[in-house]
């Protein structure tokens, strides 16, 4: 596949991620902060997000598994996850966290467990999508092409 085709695929793929709500405008902000002096900025931030999130999801699983659930602690973790997902534009994860926090407030353990499942699901989905996106970018760069910038007309 030649570079132009790959670039087209990348643009289409990225657009679909926005259309399906996986990513929001904040992700574009990240891309805009990337340049020749910081060519790996997006990958770096997103990698930090992956590490941070996986730790938080583990902490949440443990916290909700306790005989006496400390909802304050659970809420603190969810708050952190909501913040980081918002910072990279992982919209569905962020929205999942918002719902999660409401149930923390209600101290509804069943609902919290459901939310955790939901957030985990959304997290792994967006992780896969972003990894696929980065792979496409790598292929383009390896073939000597440049990463096209997104235009959001919709």
């Amino acid at each position: 596949m030649e570079v132009g085709q790959m670039q087209g695929r990348l643009v289409d793929y990225t657009k679909s991620l926005f259309m399906e709500g996986f990513l929001d405008g904040q992700f574009l902000q990240l891309q805009q902060l990337q340049d020749e002096s910081n060519p790996d900025f997006v990958v770096e931030v997103v990698s930090l997000f992956f590490d941070d999130s996986e730790k938080l999801l583990n902490d949440l699983t443990m916290a909700l598994d306790q005989p006496n659930v400390d909802f304050k602690k659970v809420d603190a973790h969810v708050h952190q996850l909501k913040g980081s997902s918002s910072s990279i534009g992982a919209q569905r994860v962020k929205n999942g966290c918002i719902a999660f926090r409401n149930f923390c407030e209600e101290q509804n353990i069943e609902a919290c467990l459901r939310c955790l499942q939901q957030v985990k699901q959304e997290y792994y989905l967006v992780k896969n999508k972003l990894e696929a996106l980065f792979r496409l970018e790598q292929q383009i760069v390896a073939a000597g092409g440049s990463i096209p910038m997104m235009e959001m007309g919709f």
């Binding site: 902000q29 902060l33 952190q80």
Partner: protein
């Protein structure tokens, strides 16, 4: 002593989230500021040269020197929600310190709580940014940093003028111009403050999310 670039402003960014620290650092560097990031309020105070147990009483002997600031900090931007010392606590400590109170402080928060916003502004914060912070938000920072530098230069200039015995009409003109410019900056910043509170009170945040950039066909 190192050579400092006088035209460059130095911002101290405080956030317990490593992702947000990376983000704010990049945003600030893109805006041509020098950046130092720390992950807590106490580390921020340490960097600013204020140590635990320092009082504002000049008569109290302290082991560590109070004004031991290696690098000049022109602005502090801090997250609100942090474990231990919150951004609000940090703001208070800075504003209560005789050596640090002139440093402009900006608060960031992911939560849109009007009472929180007002409290911070009342305590002396220059701006309150909702997270995620954008490049456009950072454009609001420069006037605050210029204002402080301006005031310092103003004081120095006045001292010089007193010594040099300037003609009074020229001096008046200059002072008037400076006052006018300060007023403009004040107005600008107070407009921005109002904006932050207004944004907090409106039910929906409508912000242009996308900017047009070139596509590859």
């Amino acid at each position: 002593m190192g050579i400092t670039a006088e035209s460059q402003f130095h911002v101290l960014a405080v956030d317990d989230s490593i992702i947000d620290r990376k983000l704010i650092e990049r945003l600030l560097k893109t805006s041509s500021y020098q950046v130092t990031t720390v992950d807590s309020g106490s580390k921020a105070l340490e960097f600013l040269g204020l140590h635990e147990g320092d009082t504002n009483d000049p008569n109290t002997p302290s082991v560590s020197s109070n004004n031991h600031q290696e690098v000049e900090v022109n602005l502090v931007i801090t997250d609100y929600c942090m474990p231990g010392m919150t951004g609000y606590d940090l703001l208070k400590k800075i504003k209560e310190s005789s050596s640090l109170k002139t440093i402009p402080v900006v608060i960031m928060s992911s939560e849109n709580v009007p009472s929180r916003i007002s409290r911070c502004l009342e305590e002396g914060a220059e701006e309150f940014f909702l997270k995620p912070v954008r490049l456009s938000d950072l454009n609001k920072l420069r006037p605050h940093m210029l204002k402080t530098k301006f005031k310092d230069q103003n004081k120095k200039q006045e001292k010089q003028e007193e010594k040099a015995d300037f003609e009074s009409p020229k001096r008046q003109e200059k002072e008037e111009e400076q006052q006018h410019q300060e007023q403009l900056l004040q107005q600008q910043s107070s407009n921005n403050k109002r904006k932050a509170v207004e944004e907090g009170l409106s039910p929906e945040r409508s912000r242009p999310r996308y900017s047009g950039i070139t596509t590859v066909v």
